[in-house]
């Protein structure tokens, strides 16, 4: 069991070696003649202006919040689903009870999803009749 995770460690180490090794070799091999022109950020040939720290659309945060909740739901459901088969081997009623328990859990979260959906937490572009509709702000400037 521990060796399965040792595989992951080996994979991580190899990934690091590959990425940083390539960068290191590139740094050693290439010539370096920096000029102010070369060091500017590439912006399709235009001289860059302003801060590159662009403000994101608030909906990313919104979606991330909803995602996090369903992330936790998966975490709660995953171990339970693993044992359902085991329960079935013991007795059928036990498994049905367990399925009922899981179903209750899921139904509560489906209610949550319907609520979020209804409140427009999942809408990317808000409907014009929504009282909370504001100007579209993908362009911060």
């Amino acid at each position: 069991m521990l060796y399965d995770f040792a595989n992951i460690v080996v994979f991580l180490v190899l990934t690091g070696v590959l990425v940083f090794g390539t960068l290191l070799v590139g740094r050693l091999v290439r010539t370096q003649k920096p000029t102010p022109e070369k060091n500017t950020i590439y912006e399709c040939g235009e001289p860059p202006f302003g801060s590159s720290w662009v403000r994101y659309n608030i909906r990313f945060y919104n979606i991330a919040l909803v995602f996090l909740i369903f992330d936790v739901e998966v975490v709660c459901l995953f171990p339970v689903i693993l044992v359902l088969q085991h329960f079935k081997l013991i007795s059928r009623t036990l498994m049905l009870v367990a399925v009922g328990e899981v179903a209750f859990f899921v139904v509560v979260l489906v209610i949550a999803l319907i609520y979020a959906w209804h409140k427009g937490a999942l809408d990317w572009l808000r409907a014009p009749e929504s009282p909370y509709s504001v100007e579209e702000s993908h362009n911060p400037e």
């Binding site: 919040l65 909803v66 739901e73 171990p79 937490a121």
Partner: protein
């Protein structure tokens, strides 16, 4: 057998190094976004500790929820604020002093708790998958917490919908 134990010790100390160094970077980074990225390595290192303690499910949860969910939320939050540390007023001297005092107080509490602890040691067992055991306990002994957790998630979702709505309404 000895080689395996040495390997585990090496992995443990490497993980320790990753956690401590990335945590220091997260604390002392000038830019909030660098701090958030350093925090990613701290959280993954914590997952490494859980692996070493044979808590495989907890380790995966740590990666999925903390590194994959909460950190992304944190990053979005930072990117949304569109402010540097100076603008937020975190660079002030008073903030440093208050932070140091709060940190020291928390550290003292931790030392107190660690000194109070009994630290029962269980004999080391061969590492076995824990997920199915957790699932069985969730359906039998800890059924009520399991169902309550779904209601808590419902409350969290309603709260997040409310928060987002208020921001949009401005």
């Amino acid at each position: 057998m000895a080689g395996k134990e040495i390997a585990i010790i090496i992995v443990f100390y490497v993980t320790c190094g990753v956690v401590v160094i990335s945590a220091l970077i997260a604390v002392f980074a000038r830019s909030v976004i660098n701090a958030a990225f350093a925090l990613f390595f701290t959280l993954c290192g914590m997952a490494g500790f859980y692996f070493l303690l044979s808590a495989d499910f907890l380790a995966i949860v740590q990666i999925v929820v903390y590194a994959g969910g909460i950190l992304v939320l944190l990053l979005f939050g930072i990117l949304l604020t569109h402010r540097t540390l100076e603008e937020l007023g975190i660079e002030k001297r008073t903030t440093y002093i208050a932070g140091t005092i709060a940190g020291l107080a928390f550290y003292l509490i931790l030392i107190f708790i660690i000194a109070q602890g009994l630290w029962h040691q269980i004999p080391p067992k061969p590492m076995a998958p824990t997920t199915a055991t957790i699932g069985r306990l969730l359906l039998t002994k800890y059924l009520l917490p399991f169902e309550i957790s779904s209601v808590t998630l419902l409350a969290a979702l309603i709260g997040s919908a409310y928060l987002v709505r208020r921001k949009e309404g401005k």
